[in-house]
């Protein structure tokens, strides 16, 4: 009887634990860019208009490389929008860079997930190459001085971004 009860308790605790896990955070990575000035991020936005990293100097910029064919990017997209929206007046800008994708698919993706931040196209993958991105989603946090302060590999979420940016601002 005791054995059955204790096994029962362990199994229920185990199940409750697993049921409350969130999909894994992005991994904070050591990229060779850390501490160096960020490569330029500039280009045409998906909805028209242009973006340039230089004009954001003085703000923290979160640069997220994504693609419409990338599964974890779907998981991440609403989180990025949430984060972008809550931080929009707090000196943090979010910009996406389309990685290895067509304009039509990327536009469809952004429309489907209701992106609340601009994304620019990257013809020839030049920006991705300069940042050393080899698989989306990859996110870089650029500090107010224009240097790369953090690299996140894999899908991130609003909570993790807030924590990372808070550390960058210290």
């Amino acid at each position: 009887m005791i054995v059955s009860l204790s096994v029962l308790v362990v199994v229920i605790a185990f199940s409750a634990f697993l049921a409350t896990r969130q999909p894994s955070d992005a991994t904070v990575a050591q990229s060779p860019l850390l501490g160096k000035p960020a490569p330029n991020v500039a280009g045409t936005e998906l909805g028209g208009g242009t973006f340039s990293l230089k004009s954001e100097l003085g703000e923290v910029v979160v640069v997220n490389f994504w693609a419409s064919w990338c599964g974890p990017c779907k998981q991440e997209a609403p989180e990025l929008s949430t984060y972008a929206w809550t931080e929009r007046h707090k000196g943090v800008a979010v910009v996406g860079v389309v990685y290895d994708d067509t304009v039509s698919s990327a536009t469809g993706f952004a429309a489907h997930y209701g992106s609340l931040y601009p994304s620019i196209v990257d013809p020839g993958g030049v920006i991705a190459n300069n940042f050393g991105v080899d698989s989306p989603p990859t996110t870089f946090v650029i500090n107010r001085q224009g240097k790369v302060a953090a690299t996140l590999l894999g899908p991130t979420n609003a909570k993790q971004l807030a924590a990372v940016v808070a550390k960058v601002l210290q």
Partner: protein, 127 residues
């Protein structure tokens, strides 16, 4: 044949072979052996679960060079692993440190083994 039939003779032969095998065993303390061993303990930074020994990604090669350099500089295994952990974070080691929560990884299997052996013995004892 009585030679084959004798259990004692076989035990003697076994002990001889064991002795020979232990003496002839290659040493793992050499620099090469240490490097190879350490490389199996460190994860390739860009991969999910491959060690730097198994992956040829650029980041893995960089870590391998780092390990080789440190072993040749005479650093101890522990120091090398700790400094890699400091650079890349705790997830770079393929087997977590045994302190704190990590001790569970070794305690639980032992406890489970004991519990199962007890269950097995109870099965025998019951009449």
């Amino acid at each position: 044949m009585n030679i084959v039939k004798s259990f004692r003779l076989w035990c003697l032969a076994f002990l001889c072979v064991l002795a020979v095998a232990l003496v002839a065993a290659p040493s793992t303390a050499s620099a090469q052996g240490r490097i190879a061993h350490l490389e199996t303990l460190v994860k390739c930074p860009a991969c999910d679960d491959l060690s730097v020994a198994q992956s040829n990604a650029t980041s893995a090669l960089a870590v391998r060079e780092d390990i080789t350099r440190r072993v040749k500089a005479g650093e101890s295994d522990n120091k090398i692993l700790t400094s890699l952990e400091a650079t890349y974070g705790t997830s770079i080691l393929l087997s977590p440190a045994t302190s704190g929560v990590g001790s569970l990884l070794w305690l639980v299997p032992i406890l489970v083994l004991v519990a199962l052996v007890v269950a097995g013995v109870r099965l025998v004892r019951r009449r």
